[in-house]
């Protein structure tokens, strides 16, 4: 079972995601290169955070047009698991693999902090290790994490259980005051209709190595692993 971490010029969390799969999960993982049209034999793809192409123009605006993204789309169309974290989420919305878009934080500042999140839907290949309503801590670090989609899109996503994580306070309450960046409905992470493509602003990989004082994020990778294992037997 192979994991792939897609590398763009300017990705800076690729090694962290690699570390999470390699060292925390202990599974085989390789880097995928943005210029490649054939991604080879992979079962799950992580699009890591960072500043692909310097985030120039808009985060993800240039990266989503790279050859590898065509291959990622094909991979996802066949049901492959894809998770975009932070800049990876932005790339996935730019490529329309996920609805909506990520605007600048309403405070107009980059925000790096350990953030409490509520698990909204634990019934997905990415969140099965959690229970719905769980409160977890993942770091966030972004300047454009303010999730926006048209009202009918949001309504549809809510109805379909496409919201995976919401920003909340330590007591698990979601309100405007617990929202660090202005995201609609406190949205921190979403999944596509078919349930195999996820985008999230918080960093599960940064919350996966207990030496760093946080370990809630490991569940995302373990969930994915269990799903793949079940599928591949």
């Amino acid at each position: 079972m192979n994991w792939g971490v897609l590398l763009f010029p300017g990705s800076n969390c690729a090694e962290d995601c690699f570390h999470a799969v390699d060292k925390i999960l202990g599974k085989p993982v390789k880097y995928l290169w943005h210029k490649d049209t054939d991604l080879g034999d992979v079962d799950a793809i992580i699009i890591p955070g960072g500043f692909s192409y310097g985030d120039h123009l808009r985060p993800g605006a240039i990266a989503h047009l790279s050859p590898a993204m065509t291959a990622v789309k094909e991979f996802a169309a066949k049901g492959g698991l894809v998770i975009g974290i932070c800049n990876g989420f932005q790339i996935l919305t730019e490529s329309r693999m996920l609805p909506g878009s990520l605007l600048q934080n309403r405070g107009l500042k980059f925000l790096c902090q350990d953030q409490t999140l509520q698990v909204d839907n634990a019934d997905t290949p990415f969140t099965s290790e959690y229970a719905s309503g769980d409160v977890v801590v993942f770091p966030i670090a972004h300047n454009e994490g303010n999730y926006y989609a048209a009202p009918d899109t949001i309504a549809e996503m809510e109805a379909n259980g496409q919201i995976l994580f919401r920003y909340c306070n330590p007591e698990g309450e979601v309100s405007d005051g617990t929202n660090p960046n202005g995201s609609l409905n406190g949205i921190a992470g979403i999944i596509n209709r078919t349930g195999n493509v996820v985008g999230m602003m918080p960093h599960p990989e940064r919350s996966a190595d207990s030496v760093l004082g946080l370990s809630d994020g490991k569940g995302v990778f373990v969930s994915m692993l269990k799903h793949l294992e079940a599928k591949h037997g």
Binding site: L57, R58, A61, T93, S101, Y148, A149, A150, G182
Partner: protein, 82 residues
């Protein structure tokens, strides 16, 4: 040589915190006649092209593919002789 000037703005109805911040900033230094500000991007591009119509089609294409994100942004442009 042609020159294209592309303007990309947040769509109407989407809150523009940067515009709000600029307005507040201006207000705080006494420019209270400013009632609303919206901040967008302007791109100036030199095109090695001669035909206006082809250039126009090209720039449209660039905007749709890359320069603007239709989910949240709208664009307009103008092309002139460099």
């Amino acid at each position: 040589m042609l020159k294209a000037i592309v303007t990309v703005m947040l769509k109407k109805g989407i809150f523009d915190p940067q515009g709000r911040a600029v307005q507040n900033g201006l207000d705080s230094i006494g420019f209270d006649q400013v009632k609303k500000v919206r901040v967008g991007k302007q791109l100036e591009m030199d095109l090695e092209m001669t035909d206006m119509a082809t250039a126009e089609a090209s720039v449209h294409d660039m905007c749709d593919k890359m320069l603007a994100n239709p989910v949240v942004e709208s664009y307009s442009f103008e092309i002139k002789e460099a």
